[in-house]
Symmetry: C2
Subunit: 115 residues, 2 copies
Amino acid sequence: MLNQSTTLDLTFQALADPARRAMLERLSTGPASVSELARPFSMSMPAVLQHLAVLETAGLTLSRKSGRVRTCEINPQALSTAQDWLAARRAEWEHRLDRLEAYLIELQNKDQGNG
Amino acid sequence: MLNQSTTLDLTFQALADPARRAMLERLSTGPASVSELARPFSMSMPAVLQHLAVLETAGLTLSRKSGRVRTCEINPQALSTAQDWLAARRAEWEHRLDRLEAYLIELQNKDQGNG
DNA sequence: TCTACAGTTAAGCAAATGCTTAACCAATCA
DNA sequence: TGATTGGTTAAGCATTTGCTTAACTGTAGA
């Protein structure tokens, strides 16, 4: 098991490329072979393989080879680490904004009391 | 307004670096100056500036300069684009798994009927 | 068996990243 | 006014990334 920081590095890095996100979008509707994943792109096969390796290393996809066909699919546990991190950041600053708002309302009420 | 793909590229790319994530974590608890953000790192000032530029270009942070101090803060609208994309992917393949499960249960019931 | 298909490996290259040092500007403060 | 603080710019450099072409392996079908 890799540490949290490295997992996030690999995950966000993998998601930072439009070709890799397109592949993930395709895979999120069901498994696909390497050449099926390659089809929408005007990119050499080795380039596609490299993108798939990035996704798999990040733990976002899984693949198995049967005969001469390699079938790729989404790793069901994936994405959640990234989602969790984003949700945590969001929760923190929303909490802060809530407190700020509460403080400003409190100030306003005091002002009215003094007016 | 940039197109969706470019926004996602910049956002995920920005989030792919542990130093930038640490800065965002700090900022999610409230605004901070550049040198305050730099303090936890053994990194030159220009390096910190570059990380902050990446965050700001991705729209994840905002900053304003007053006197000689630049104050940075989270851009409240940020993160949501990334979160939305992740949530959509997740919804798609969970939907697919649900259908697969339903199909398998159906098969099982038919088998029992035939047994 | 021979041929085509699906995938893989290796080598190389241009551009992008993440960092450094050095020099510099502008706002405070003694 | 002169030193210090906070930030900025420019230039350079090693590494990584994303791609290419060329050569190759293993499987399947005629």
